[in-house]
């Protein structure tokens, strides 16, 4: 009777879970049953049947755990301490390998720890607020000629929602403002501060943002009346010193010289990770009797300000439709009160949970920037990649080193130690290494956080006092120890004792694992090369951005703002003073500097020859007549605007072209309308970049308007900078004794446009260095192993007269091939990634092919440096050393 072999896959599975003692008999039984079934039903059914019985055999009698011999022994304290002792001795004995292993893993772990801490920090914002799932911020979206979003609303929105819309439990609105604060102490001396975390609010605020412990006063009444202020405890202590909260109540504070209020309550924050980190809460009613009243015109639906925040808390179980109904009612009312026809405001809501992550809207006016969830995801990817590279590295080195353990394995096996306890023993070793790596990684991750301090929020630090941190770290140690150790443990424990213990022959294991090691090396180098190429591309783009001519002069230009609440006459006094300083070459005052992050646009109407109406949304720059001279803006046709001629305007080339003039110069003399006001174009400005290079050049006009021009800019000889600054400071103090002067340099302002890019390239650079470092560690370990393996070959070749170069080539050839393979993969992937990143910019530099080539060359050079010394040593060794064993 001919017999059939059962299908391979289920048999493999069966072998993998079946205990060694039972395997032979059970496999034989299954074989027999399978063949009987073939005779009965044919081979197709039999195959299915075989699968079935393999699955059915997944029971205690077959499973590895039933090995009675090892029961209790496996987990006993004695064997554990024995394992740890042996592991420790091994670690100590193989110093180089251990050091490489620990350093590699420590880098991976520290990156992971730092990034993971940062992510969990960012994700924990506002999570303490009760009912946060039913709190929403109302924000504004503009439609029509004007597009964009604003995190605030018009003033009447909150009142309307409160009075006319059903389905909302609480509506609260507050105004975020920066103020000068004057506090009078008991002796009558006044201390002043400048604060930005101030809001004007009413009692509903504390209902919605329920995160305070009341040390004095009551949430219901403390903001009910005019002249009240509630303070956050820490801020109050800054104002009044460390006195009891109850003693602070009733003290007087003056905001912005004119808003006199009494402390009516002291609160304490119950959580640190909150975006609602306001410190002074002034009762809203206080504004009614002061100059602030003008800011809050109760029926002005058309002015939207991001300072004016509206939040709603809806009832529990409010459905999507009900939420929608609220918005529909609000938007109908908004439309009814619309005063202009050119753009419209549409109100939308943002869940409180998204507040911290909405990069479009931002958080609040005076809070830090919102966190980009995408950035967090990318960071997480980097963290995991680092950890995986480090684990690969460990696996790589350990499998290569497994041969050193062959004697130990052989001896133990012949003494009757089972494979599973050998695996436990090796896993103990890898876990111990992971543990040591974690210890090393702690200072490393602290340094990492320090190094990236400009990235991470100021309040962030790795929480050593949090027990959860230690538990997670320990868990990480076990996971890493297991993942990194399991494969090498299997390899090492599978050696057969008979082979390893033969005294004469040097034991060489089967080539198993060699291919895997190659895969690891290739993937490490793919990551490393990807990072090298992307970093080079980023750096070249960033330097392009910084060096590209913006079209105006930014060097040697200093500017500052004068206080908006002071009169324009006072500013004129300062200007007169400044014009007496001889080192200031040009002096100009204007509303906005030539390039900035934000913008202001107006809708302009133009009728062409056929009387067709052409409407554009046009960027506005306004100021005096010296603007062009200060920033060296070039006119390509016409002339500058005249003083006091507020109907004259200059437009840029782009706008002229959009108006239908192929030759922009011909646009001189045309008229256009803003509402009822007519402007006449008297000059054409050469195009310049008035926004960052992320955006293209859009239509722009410049008009003479001194009214709100609160920026004073001046061109200064760079050698005279110090004296000029001193003199300007001096004059400023004469005119505005109570206000601080904040001078800015134009070129620094432009650099700040590309902060994100500069930061990203910094991260990329560090990640590159780390990835290369880890890959090189792996390479170093592998070359050492290869050299040992090939020592005999090298010896024989030398005896036969091979040159150093020949031998070096033989030893390193394989690695260069691996690096080349990695490059072939890394090249197209990085090309795609770079293209994706570049999409953000309207103006990009050419990433030439040599950047890719350079990426490949750098990795080869570094690899060469890593293995060079080892190879030199090996090729230079006396062949007697390697051959005398035989």
């Amino acid at each position: 009777m001919s017999t059939h072999n059962p299908p391979k896959l289920p048999l493999k599975i069966f072998r993998s879970f079946c205990s060694e003692e039972r395997l032979e008999e059970l496999e034989g039984d299954l074989y027999e049953v399978y063949n009987a079934f073939i005779d009965e039903r044919g081979s197709l059914y039999a195959n299915l049947f075989y699968w079935w019985i393999v699955i059915r055999s997944f029971r205690s009698f077959a499973l590895k755990r039933t090995k009675m011999r090892n029961k209790g022994h496996l987990l006993s304290i004695a064997s554990l301490s024995h394992n740890i002792k042996i592991a420790w001795r091994n670690i100590i004995r193989r110093k180089t390998t251990t050091a490489i292993n620990i350093i590699g893993l420590a880098i991976g772990i520290s990156g992971f720890v730092a990034i993971f801490s940062l992510i969990s920090y960012e994700l924990s914002f506002n999570k303490h607020l009760p009912d946060r799932d039913r709190i929403y911020r109302v924000y504004t979206e503009f439609g029509g000629a004007f597009s964009g979003t604003n995190s605030g609303t018009a003033v009447p929105v909150a009142t309307f929602l409160k009075d006319y819309v059903s389905g909302i439990e609480t509506v609260t609105h507050f105004h975020n403002q920066s103020f000068d604060v004057a506090v009078e102490d008991k002796a009558g001396n006044t201390q002043s501060y400048s604060r930005s975390n101030i809001i004007l609010a009413d009692p509903t605020y504390f209902k919605v943002v329920n995160q305070y412990k009341w040390l004095a006063g009551s949430p219901h009444t403390a903001l009910l009346n005019p002249g009240q202020v509630v303070l956050e405890r820490k801020q109050a202590e800054k104002y009044f010193g460390r006195i009891a909260p109850l003693d602070m109540v009733g003290r007087k504070i003056i905001y912005q010289d004119s808003l006199d209020v009494m402390v009516s309550g002291i609160v304490e924050l119950t959580a640190d990770r909150t975006d609602f980190n306001f410190t002074d809460f002034i009762s809203f009613k206080s504004t009614e009797t002061t100059w602030l009243k003008d800011f809050f015109t109760a029926d002005d639906w058309s002015s939207v300000s991001s300072g004016w925040q509206t939040f709603i808390q809806v009832y529990e179980n409010t459905s999507e439709e009900q939420l929608n109904d609220i918005l529909v009612a609000l938007n109908q009312e908004a439309k009814k009160n619309q005063t202009n026809s050119v753009w419209e405001t549409i109100y939308k809501i943002q869940p409180l949970d998204d507040l911290h992550y909405g990069t479009n809207l931002g958080i609040f006016d005076h809070s830090g920037p919102a966190t980009q969830l995408l950035t967090l995801k990318v960071l997480l990817g980097v963290a995991v990649a680092l950890l995986i590279i480090a684990i690969f590295n460990f696996i790589n080195l350990e499998t290569a080193q497994a041969i050193n353990k062959s004697k130990e394995v052989g001896l133990r096996k012949s003494l009757g130690v089972s494979k599973s306890s050998l695996i436990t023993r090796f896993l103990t070793e890898s876990t111990l290494v992971a543990f040591l790596a974690a210890l090393v990684s702690l200072p490393l991750s602290f340094y990492g956080v320090e190094f990236f301090s400009e990235f991470v929020p100021k309040e962030f630090s790795i929480e050593l006092s949090n027990p959860l941190f230690w538990v997670s770290l320990l868990l990480l140690v076990f996971v890493v120890g297991f993942l990194a150790g399991i494969y090498p443990a299997f390899i090492a424990s599978s050696f057969s004792p008979a082979q390893t213990l033969k005294p004469t022959l040097k034991f060489t294991p089967k080539s198993g694992g060699k291919r895997l090691r190659k895969v690891f090396i290739v993937s490490q180098f793919i990551v490393a090369q990807l990072l090298v190429i992307c970093t080079l591309a980023m750096l070249s783009q960033v330097s392009y951005l910084l060096e590209k001519e913006m079209g105006f002069e930014d060097e040697g230009v200093i500017y500052f703002r004068t206080p908006y609440y002071e009169t324009i006459e006072k500013q004129q006094v300062l200007l007169n003073e400044l014009s007496k300083i001889p080192q200031i070459q040009t002096l100009s005052y204007h509303q906005e500097i030539p390039a900035r992050q934000g913008w202001s646009k107006s809708t302009m109407k133009y009728y062409d020859q056929d009387s067709t109406e052409i409407i554009h949304s046009v960027h506005q720059k306004k100021g005096d007549i010296n603007y062009l001279e200060l920033y060296q803006l070039e006119l390509i046709a016409g002339r500058n605007v005249h003083e006091k001629a507020d109907r004259e305007t200059l437009i840029n080339e782009t706008y002229a072209k959009m108006l239908g003039f192929d030759d922009p110069k011909k646009a001189v003399g045309v008229r256009m309308l803003n509402g009822e006001k007519v402007f006449e174009v008297v000059g054409i400005l050469k195009d310049f970049h008035f926004q960052s290079l992320h955006s293209e050049i859009e239509p722009l006009m410049y008009t003479y308007e001194p009214k709100n021009s609160r920026i004073i800019g001046m061109a200064v000889d760079t050698d005279q900078l110090k004296t000029v600054i001193d003199q300007v400071n001096d004059r400023w103090d004469h005119v505005y004794p109570d206000d601080p002067l904040e001078m800015q340099f134009m070129d620094e302002t432009i650099e700040s446009f590309y902060q994100t890019e500069q930061r990203t390239s910094k991260v990329a650079m560090v990640a590159t260095v780390v990835a290369i470092l880890i890959s090189c560690l792996g390479l170093f370990g592998l070359i050492s192993y290869n050299i040992i393996q090939k020592s005999k070959e090298v010896g024989i070749r030398k005896v036969l007269g091979a040159s150093l170069l020949n031998i070096g080539t033989i030893l390193s050839k394989e690695f260069f091939i691996l690096i080349l393979v990695a490059f072939v993969v890394a090249f197209p992937v990085s090309y795609i990634l770079i293209g994706y990143w570049m999409e953000d910019f309207s103006y990009t530099t050419n990433i030439s092919w040599w950047i890719y080539g350079l990426g490949g060359i750098i990795s080869i050079v570094i690899a060469l440096m890593t293995i060079g010394a080892k190879i030199w040593k090996a090729s230079d060794a006396n062949p007697v050393e390697s051959l005398r064993y035989e």
């Binding site: 017999t3 008999e25 496999e27 034989g28 074989y31 049953v33 019985i53 029971r59 205690s60 009698f61």
Partner: protein, 111 residues
């Protein structure tokens, strides 16, 4: 291990091992059981039973010779141990004793 109490299936397996005498390995036990009881017994149920019986000490075992029918694998041959024999007798005796205690009258209505 819970005493020497036998389940019904275990008792059948034990009996089969006895019947087959020196040729009692899992596949043979399965076939004999199928023949004798006219029910479909799967190989893994037999495995479960024989290994448990061995754990209980009711069966002894040794490895047999290898054969090509089994893909060159040896079989494990089971024999009834002293304890196994006692357990069988005890079960048998218990059954008989209890059977004998049923009064004739209990079957009266079946006539």
């Amino acid at each position: 291990m819970k005493g020497t109490n036998l389940g019904e299936f275990e008792e059948l397996v034990l009996l089969t091992v006895g019947i087959l005498y020196d040729n009692a390995y899992s596949v043979a036990i399965q076939q004999e059981l199928n023949r004798q009881t006219d029910r479909k017994v799967s190989i893994s149920s037999v495995h479960t039973a024989v290994y448990r019986l061995e754990e209980k000490g009711l069966l002894d075992s040794r490895m047999g010779e290898m054969s090509s029918e089994r893909g060159g694998k040896r079989k494990r041959i089971f024999t009834i141990s002293q304890a196994g024999k006692e357990a069988l007798e005890k079960a048998n005796e218990l059954r008989n004793r209890m059977r004998n205690q049923i009064p004739e009258i209990a079957f009266e209505h079946l006539r």
